[in-house]
């Protein structure tokens, strides 16, 4: 029957047919983390299969029978049964059977009492263990990020491949290799202790930062996936900062940076999907609540002695978020922060951003000189923003011919339509100025 009797926990309310956004993905992340703890990190793939089956059952049953009152508990129950089936089939897993039963019995009937808080804590710990294990130094950097997306965020191989502009087959291979390394190197599913903890925490922060940046980059890939990457990075960093092991000034700084940048994400394009300059963005549409959260974490990041790169970048984002307009932005302060940042970060992209800050403080001529002084400027040549920035400096100086030349070069390098349209517009402005 429609109000299915096959799952007793089902809420028989045909009108309640929605589940929260990304429920499947987030539950997948939690279930994989918990089941992997029980089955062993070396059996990650088995845990992933079990979770896939549980979600499949939900997809089929809920569509017909309605969504159960507690979807998470329903999923966990199904996953438990699937896991038991799987371990019973394999002789060498027999010892796990009691582990699974014990784990789930301990939780049954405690969905709303104080014990469920304890259970939520356990799941949170499982996710953190997974986060630290995914960033083990025996795994290649790109595998760390891919593995985090797969196991903690519930992304599919196709979705991860789309986020990193690679083929699904290549991504699948990368994940297979990662699981192999986990088995062969015997990587433990744990939060390391002692001096290793601080090193590993750095790796985790770096992975989360990469995840966010991959989403934040304006220049590539599918808009929706990019938004998802930013959201996931913020979600995981929040999880980390709320845990004693992750509650460090540096983590607060990273989260602040993500929130203060994420708050402005949706205003970077207009209604037609055209890219907007910071100066052109509708600041009234910036997400105030997110900015407030970002400021709160920025305050908490100031607790220690260390000034990390995340602190500096969050500080720059703060200046943008709190300025009433592009013109009244505290460019002097931004420049100061960039001056410190370039001392430790040799990225030419950072140097290019610093040149923009210099032009705002000392004029476009100084900006041009700063670009010329970027030490490995050659690596920036294929990057459209270099040419767009130089073009804008020339435009501001009134060298419209020179500006047009550089905008044209930028246009041929730009990857996505919104950037090309944006540059075509700038080019038209140059021509009009030249004609006028």
């Amino acid at each position: 029957m429609v109000n299915s009797s096959t799952h007793p926990d089902a809420a028989v309310q045909p009108d309640v047919i929605q589940v929260v956004d990304h429920l499947f993905r987030h539950e997948a992340g939690k279930m994989v983390a918990t089941l992997t703890r029980i089955l062993g990190f070396e059996n990650l793939h088995l845990a992933e299969d079990v979770v896939q089956d549980a979600l499949l059952k939900a997809m089929q049953n809920w569509a017909f029978g309605g969504v159960p009152r507690n979807p998470s508990a329903w999923l966990m129950q199904v996953a438990r049964n699937q896991a038991l089936d799987a371990v019973r089939r394999q002789q060498n897993f027999r010892s796990k059977e009691t582990d699974i039963t014990a784990f789930f019995e301990h939780r049954s009937g405690t969905q709303s009492g104080p014990e469920s808080v304890h259970f939520d804590d356990e799941i949170r710990d499982d996710q953190l263990r997974m986060m630290f294990a995914c960033c083990h130094p025996d795994l290649a950097r790109e595998s760390q990020v891919a593995l985090t997306l797969k196991t903690l965020c519930g992304f599919g191989e196709e979705e991860i491949a789309a986020a990193f502009l690679t083929s699904t087959a290549a991504m699948a291979k990368r994940l297979v290799r990662a699981r192999q390394s986990i088995r062969e190197a015997g990587i433990p599913l744990e939060i390391p202790a002692g001096s290793e903890l601080s090193r590993r925490l750095d790796a985790v922060l770096q992975t989360l930062y990469l995840l966010f940046n991959e989403g934040y980059k304006a220049s590539r890939g599918d808009e929706l996936i990019r938004q998802d990457l930013c959201d996931e990075a913020i979600r995981l960093t929040t999880l980390l900062v709320e845990h004693p092991t992750g509650n460090r000034p540096k983590t607060h700084a990273l989260l602040s940076l993500m929130l203060l940048s994420g708050a402005r994400l949706s205003t970077r394009v207009d209604a037609e999907g055209n890219l907007l300059l910071l100066a052109e963005q509708d600041r009234s549409r910036w997400d105030r609540a997110m900015i407030q959260r970002g400021l709160a974490h920025l305050n908490r990041s100031a607790a220690g002695e260390e000034i990390s790169e995340f602190h500096l970048q969050a500080g720059i984002a703060y200046c943008h978020c709190t300025a009433a307009s592009y013109e009244t932005t505290d460019w002097q302060r931004i420049l100061t922060l960039y001056d410190i940042l370039v001392e430790t970060n040799s990225s030419p992209v950072v140097a290019l951003n610093r040149a923009v800050a210099i032009s705002r403080v000392r004029g476009p001529e100084a900006g041009l000189r700063a670009v010329e002084l970027i030490s490995d400027r050659a690596t920036l040549e294929p990057y459209y923003l270099l040419h767009a920035v130089v073009a804008q400096f020339h435009f501001d100086l009134g060298n419209y011919g020179e500006a047009a030349k550089h905008f044209q070069r930028a246009q041929t390098l730009a990857g996505v339509r919104s950037e090309q349209e944006f540059l075509a517009n700038r080019l038209r402005s140059c021509r009009e100025k030249q004609a006028g």
Binding site: M1, P14, V19, L55, L56, A58, W62, A63, E157
Partner: protein, 120 residues
């Protein structure tokens, strides 16, 4: 003599390959089913329905002496679920089935009138 009723059986075969779907895709697929079935329900067309599990047995030969695990036929042949839908005739039943999300994943819907035998 069998009589026409206003009930029709929908049999769903094939559709998305769950092994290839990400959690997000599964949720989106489910949402499309929610939307379609919700519409049938609102129109008062939906009478019953349930999904079918993969496991099962097929009985054959005299007195069902031969029992095999199954159905385990080709994925695209296996019936994944059924609905009973009220419609004034086969045409309307077919029209209502056209909104089914299974077609986005190359599945099929078989629409059959349910007949009623008086006195049975």
């Amino acid at each position: 003599m069998a009589q026409q009723t206003n009930d029709f059986l929908y049999l769903f075969r094939g559709g998305a390959d769950p092994k290839q779907m990400s959690p997000e895709q599964m949720q989106q697929n489910m949402n499309r089913w929610f939307a379609w079935m919700g519409e049938l329900r609102t129109k008062g067309k939906l009478k019953a329905g349930e999904p079918l599990g993969d496991e099962g047995k097929v009985l054959s030969a005299k007195k069902g002496a031969v029992v095999t695990d199954g159905p385990f036929v080709e994925g695209k042949e296996e019936v994944g679920g059924y609905l009973i839908v009220a419609a004034k005739d086969l045409n309307e039943a077919v029209e209502l089935a056209k909104g089914c999300p299974i077609f986005e994943n190359n599945g099929t819907v078989e629409v059959r009138p349910i007949e009623h035998i008086p006195g049975l």
